[in-house]
């Protein structure tokens, strides 16, 4: 018997019982679809998280002020006025630190001509574009000279441009920030939403010296953005910064730090963990339904062997070897499970597409995942089809021919 003949006989037997075959395949279909969707969610979510993290900046470490206790009242993280541009300069000299930018943030009303808008103003250093990996769509970013001179220049995010200069180019125009006129010298490229859902383009960037001297009037910064020169050094850089700042801020013994160091890696890990939980959950569903699907196939194959006892008897009488009968029923089970696997892959791809649209990440299904899912469904057929097939092959032809 050639494989082609065996496959054709198996296919015909399954087509004869179309509805039953389809119902039998259901478990395998769901299982394989779940496998494909699981892998696609895993890869897609991880890529999406990686893209969002990279969007915040390369190897970014953020230092923010800690909490202070005044007369027994603790203020919470970020309230202390302890970080200075000097801390930033010291951090810049640490090993594996690529660059540092102070950040001074304030939220205020801004005015340009007859338009006004409430937005986020950030005072930063020229290293900002490198640390946040944020290019300009037009104009230029301010220079170190602008910082030294506390120049009244600004770079706008696209959302601010849309609201203050809906019709004209903003370059060279003046924006009033807390009644201080700043000249627009550049526009940031569109960034879209952050991982937290904020509009990252709703911002105005100015030299941090200008922000401190002309707007806030104090000598402290809201945060220090530090970029490590490579991902593996992020933890080392975090520790170095902690050590350095404890020294500079004269924090000794078990005294509480007046600052806090965080890397985006921590945030990324939390996000990946969420995706992993989802993956395990779906992998569990996939495993259970593949096993249930396999048992379903075994069940139907046993029914089929009983129903076709006479046919088996006849095949033995006209000269089928036991191995030929075994092959026939085994191949029938494998065809059942692999057709189910193929349908499952199709449904899995559709499902992955739907989940990708909902999760707003790219639909990625590695070809290896499809190959593995299919191979697994074939194995299910062999494993669960073997017992019914061997039962058929062991039938006594005389009893089988008499079977009513």
């Amino acid at each position: 018997m050639t494989l082609g003949t065996l496959l054709r006989i198996a296919w015909e037997a399954l087509v004869r019982n179309r509805v039953r075959s389809l119902l039998t395949m259901l478990g395998v279909i769901i299982g394989v679809a779940a496998v494909v969707i699981t892998i696609s969610i895993g890869v897609g979510a991880r890529e999406s998280i990686a893209a969002q993290i990279n969007g915040l900046g390369s190897n970014l470490v953020v230092v923010i002020p800690g909490n202070v206790t005044l007369n027994g009242v603790r203020t919470g993280t970020g309230a202390a006025s302890t970080l200075t541009p000097g801390d930033g300069l010291a951090i810049a000299k640490l090993p594996h630190v690529a660059s540092v930018s102070p950040a001074v943030g304030l939220r205020t009303q801004v005015i340009a001509g007859e338009n006004n808008w409430f937005t986020q103003v950030a005072g930063v250093a020229p290293t900002f574009t490198y640390i946040r990996e944020w290019a300009l769509s037009s104009g230029a970013f301010f220079s170190q000279t602008n910082v030294s001179e506390s120049a009244k220049v600004c770079v706008l995010g696209q959302t601010v441009v849309d609201n203050l200069f809906p019709k004209v180019s903003p370059l060279g125009k003046t924006v009033l920030i807390r009644n201080v006129p700043f000249t627009v010298i550049g526009v940031l490229s569109v960034r879209g939403q952050s991982a937290g859902g904020q509009d990252q383009d709703d911002t105005i960037v100015i030299p941090y010296t200008s922000a401190m001297e002309r707007l806030t009037g104090n000598t402290f910064v809201s945060a220090l953005m530090v970029s490590a020169d490579d991902a593996p050094y992020i933890t080392a850089v975090e520790n170095e910064i902690t050590g350095l700042l404890e020294q500079r801020h004269r924090i000794v013994g078990n005294q509480e730090d007046d600052f806090s160091v965080r890397s985006l890696q921590d945030i990324a890990n939390a996000a990946s963990a969420t995706a992993a939980v989802m993956e395990y959950l779906l992998a569990g569903v996939a495993a259970v339904s593949l096993i249930v699907g396999g048992i379903g196939i075994m069940n139907i194959m046993l029914v089929s062997v009983t129903e076709r006892t006479r046919e088996i008897g006849l095949r033995i009488a006209v000269g089928a070897r036991a191995s030929a009968i075994l092959e026939q029923f085994l191949i029938e089970a494998v065809v059942l499970s692999s057709v189910g696997g193929a349908l499952g892959i199709v449904i899995g791809l559709i499902g992955s597409g739907a989940v990708a649209v909902l999760g707003q990440w790219p639909m990625v299904v590695p070809p290896l995942a499809i190959v593995l899912a299919f191979a697994f469904s074939v194995l299910i057929g062999v494993f669960f089809g073997y017992y019914p097939a061997s039962k058929a092959a062991r039938l006594n032809p005389i009893d089988a021919l008499r079977f009513e």
Binding site: M1, T5, E12, R16, R310, E311, G313, L314, R315, I316, A317, V318, G319, A320, R321, A322, S323, A324, P397, I398, L401
Partner: protein
């Protein structure tokens, strides 16, 4: 002895005992019988006389408890299950009372079945199956599905399936048992023609006297033993 043609079937002291709990049922009791090439023999006897057991034994579907069975000169006791299966597909043809065609399968494919297991290539299978259907007179029904045919037609297809591998022996187990008188006569005429014109050796099991009479020799069984072995009147005239 060496010059004499080898008999198709030679049974020497064949015994078959079935064990049911602690009881023993003797189905065949010391049977000696020889079937020469070209014979047309009817095995007759009441139910329970052992004729079906004999059929299974000669058809290599069951093994004897004691005694020797030589098929075409070969002692089948020495053969394993696969070798028996190969002998069945190449040297034996079965016809059953209930036709046993594969349901929802065309006549042509049913006739091809023994050749599938004998490993004959598809093109040759097709040609030989069509020729066999022609011989039994249903050549025009090759594409008919078994359920669409009458009993007589189905039994003809079954006979085509039995003869398609050019077997040394055709075993027909009550081939007319499920047919009306006219269809029975048709089927018997086909078997007679195969025996006379194609020289096929046929062993027919029946309990109907007028069917048995159409063979050339009648062997009668009772309680597992041969009680008579005589040529029929038709054979005597011929």
């Amino acid at each position: 002895m060496t010059d004499a043609p080898v008999p198709v079937v030679r049974l020497e002291g064949l015994r078959k005992v079935y064990r049911m709990g602690d009881q023993e049922a003797v189905a065949l009791d010391d049977v000696d019988m020889t079937l020469e090439h070209g014979e047309f023999v009817a095995i007759m006897g009441p139910s329970g006389s052992g004729k079906s057991t004999l059929m299974h034994m000669i058809g290599l579907l069951d093994r004897p408890t004691a005694g020797r069975y030589l098929f075409e000169g070969q002692d089948v006791a020495a053969l394993d299950a696969d070798q028996l299966a190969d002998l069945r597909s190449r040297r034996l043809g079965f016809v059953f009372q209930s036709y046993n065609l594969l349901s929802r399968t065309s006549a042509l494919e049913n006739v091809e079945l023994p050749m599938v297991y004998a490993g004959i290539p598809e093109r040759e299978r097709r040609e030989r199956a069509l020729a066999a259907l022609e011989v039994v007179g249903v050549g025009d029904m090759a594409q008919h599905v078994s359920n669409q045919m009458s009993g007589g037609q189905q039994q003809r297809v079954a006979i085509a399936r039995a003869l398609v591998n050019d077997p040394g022996l055709i075993l027909a187990d009550e081939p007319t048992g499920a047919l009306d008188t006219k269809s029975s006569l048709d089927v018997m005429r086909v078997l007679e023609r195969l025996n006379v014109e194609h020289g096929l050796t046929i062993l027919l099991v029946t309990h109907e006297a007028d069917i048995g009479r159409r063979a050339k020799r009648i062997v009668t069984f009772r309680d597992g033993k041969i009680v008579s072995d005589t040529p029929t009147a038709e054979a005597a005239i011929a």
